[in-house]
Symmetry: C2
Subunit: 455 residues, 2 copies
């Protein structure tokens, strides 16, 4: 599916006609993100022609916005020396990611063409666990020694700026690279040129550990409105920074993943970032079939419950017409509760020590909802369905009981999941619905036996 | 619920003992976000003591991180002149929000104490529609004239920086404030001091219109990794900027709202941002009861379907034991489809012109899933439940039919919602489940009638 259906045919024509100047002009007006989108829409050979036409710095940026699969294709089609030149131009975090996706022999061919410092930088960044601060951080920043003056520091920032993605903050480190503080470009510009960095730097900045979960790091950046967060290792040594734009990507991915998971689709961190159109139907099926099968088997339990209480049905043959209504309502109430809890957990508003209060709160909410719906259910059953008041009471009490139960389960299960170290967003609406179906039927038949005096 | 249960009692003690110095020291170590959290946990009188102890610039920042309700309480407890001084210190977007929440007579009392330019700035920002770029933008930035030299520009940036939240980018405007381009502080620092701004500015920057939806603005900032986006009115005049941290807040709010909505909870933009603990049970009930009632009434339809086909039940009395399993599976498959589609729409991966392809794709996925589950259902019914092969075939075909149908409905309904201008995230898992319940039963009984030759 083309994102720029109008531009792609024009581009194809220009490429085939070899209109290099026209192509160059075309790109001068476009943001690297847009150029990357166009290249994704062309085939590999056409894309290669375009990549080569770009100015060096733009080329590195455009590469970083392509999918890593496309990056690999492009690098594989190049002689190793050209590939090395391209890696040199790319943002540090993205090139480490790319190297992680290349064949080992390809890396061995490219690395001799890189400076030793760059090789080490790539190796180090590529070695961190994906999903941690180390896995997303970059090393593309300026460091300052604490004894420098503001004038010396500004000179250093100026000298390094052309090669650095971000100079909005500089990081103050001692000889062993221990992080002492941070200093913003704004503060450097406002300070007296003779001041020392130690006098103007911000001490004890908010920071992340290299093995922190990337989602918690992104949430810290979000909470404190940071431009970037410094990342230190266990000894307090500065090893990288995570920038606000990466934090935004992480949060977007994680939060929309929550919707997939909540809908009952398995979230696979390896492929979750592939756009809807690029995944095959086979992949869609694979991501959904496990949960569907599991829930299917769980739901066969509901059939067993129904069979177990067959004698109740025989005594009161209208009961089963209300089954979908009752277990459906339980599923709906449970979905609401679990959605609320997952959001609270995602926003960090609920912590585990509050489990009992949260469950109690949802139980109360379920009780109130159950009373309202139960009253409606009573009137519906008695007046519209023409059942006896006692029968209508069975429906009403079942609705009350199921709402209380569904809200409790909907609150408890995601909180338990979190306690067990499982992502609470895996607790999907279908899972809660299925859990409430079988147990809801038990509530239904028990109340029917008691109120209708079925023996 | 206290977020800092260990600190609050200590703080209370210091406030009661009047230990001003100790309190001052305590705050020097804390980020404005943390101070704001502490103030929220104290009562109003205690909070007022703390606010007054803060350094002026910090005070404005801390205010901006408090809930707007708390801000209103603080301002209402102050003499108008002090309130004006506090407004002067706050970020421009937050103070306009605050003024929007004050009583008109309170505003009339405060405004005479503000400079005219500030009054106008507040009035203008407060006048934009909430939920648009205008409603979230700030005016706290530096503008430059195109004919200035780099040296003159840097002087101007330096002069204005102490009063500006962001100086990372400056905005180049002509005499009528028409936006000509943007220039980063990085570029200013790297350029020759004699260069003109026109020579170094970035022309045609990515921008937003003042009435653009805030979510689409936030998504643009995210997509292009912008630090801030300039906002122009219909004539191209620069009226504000939206910064990356506000974009992050918008996306977080919108995306976690999607989970609430998907769980079947009404999302009310007025209250959606109140943390889980601060809302009352009454509010929880109000947000959930409408959907529950609506779905309850829709689900009574399922009962009618069941009653309509009572004669089929009488001919084959085991059928109804399979009802929960069959409609449950349909609900689960539908939830998966709708979750996938809502995510695709939220990430901008699916546009409306693709409706038919998306629906077709989901239909195919549903068919494959239905074939797999149908096979399992056949074996389960025949071998484990001891039903006849024909009866087992009814179950298998129903599963196939329901999966195809549920996936189609799950894809079609959110796409139609978007077409009708309704937020597709309102299409909740409970809604799809309920829709599929009644229709799924029809599929079930129709197949039973055909295969079991019930007349």
């Amino acid at each position: 599916m083309l994102r720029n259906p109008l531009l792609v045919p024009d581009l194809r024509e220009l490429i085939q006609a070899g209109e290099i100047d026209a192509l160059g002009e075309f790109f001068a007006d476009h943001h690297p993100v847009q150029i990357a989108e166009l290249i994704e829409d062309l085939d590999v050979a056409e894309g290669d022609v375009l990549i080569k036409l770009l100015a060096p710095r733009v080329r590195g940026d455009v590469m970083s916005y392509l999918t890593v699969e496309r990056q690999v294709e492009i690098v594989n089609a190049m002689p190793p020396s050209e590939a090395a030149a391209l890696l040199h131009l790319m943002p540090h975090d993205d090139r480490a990611d790319l190297v992680n996706h290349l064949e080992e022999e390809q890396v061995d061919a490219i690395f001799p063409h890189l400076a030793q410092a760059e090789r080490e930088d790539i190796r180090r960044l590529a070695s961190y666990e994906p999903g941690t601060a180390g896995g997303v951080m970059t090393t593309d920043y300026v460091t300052l020694a604490p004894h420098l003056t503001v004038r010396e520091s500004l000179d250093r920032v100026r000298r390094e700026a052309p090669d650095r993605e971000t100079i909005e903050y500089s990081y103050v480190v001692d000889e062993s690279r221990k992080l002492l503080g941070i200093v913003s470009l704004k503060r450097l510009i406002l300070a007296r040129p003779q001041s020392r960095i130690t006098e103007i730097m911000q001490r004890d900045p908010i920071l992340a550990r290299v093995d922190d979960d990337q989602e918690s790091v992104a949430r810290t950046i979000d909470k404190y409105d940071l431009f970037a967060i410094p990342v230190v290792d266990a000894t307090g040594m500065l090893v990288g920074i995570v920038t606000h734009d990466d934090a935004m990507d992480i949060l977007r991915r994680e939060q929309t993943e929550d919707i997939l998971a909540f809908g009952g689709v398995t979230v696979d961190p390896e492929v979750d970032d592939i756009p809807y159109w690029q995944g095959s139907v086979y992949r869609s099926v694979r991501r959904r079939v496990n949960w569907l099968l599991l829930l299917f088997l769980a739901e066969t339990l509901t059939g067993s419950v129904s069979r177990h209480y067959e004698w109740v049905e025989e005594a009161s043959p209208h009961l089963h017409h209300f089954t979908p209504l009752l277990i459906g309502t339980g599923g709906n109430a449970g979905s609401q509760a679990v959605g609320t809890i997952i959001r609270g957990l995602a926003l960090g508003e609920i912590v585990f020590s509050q489990t009992m209060s949260v469950v109690f709160r949802e139980w109360i909410t379920g009780t109130v909802l159950g009373l309202i719906l139960g009253a409606v259910g009573f009137l519906h059953t008695w007046l519209l369905r023409g059942e006896s008041p006692t029968f209508a009471l069975v429906i009403a009490f079942t609705i009350l009981g199921i709402c209380m139960w569904a809200n409790t389960v909907g609150a408890l299960v995601p909180l338990l999941a979190r306690k067990l170290g499982i992502d609470p967003a895996v607790v999907s609406a279908p899972l809660i619905t299925t859990l409430v179906d079988a147990t809801g039927l038990c509530i239904f038949y028990t109340i029917a036996i008691l109120l209708l005096r079925i023996t």
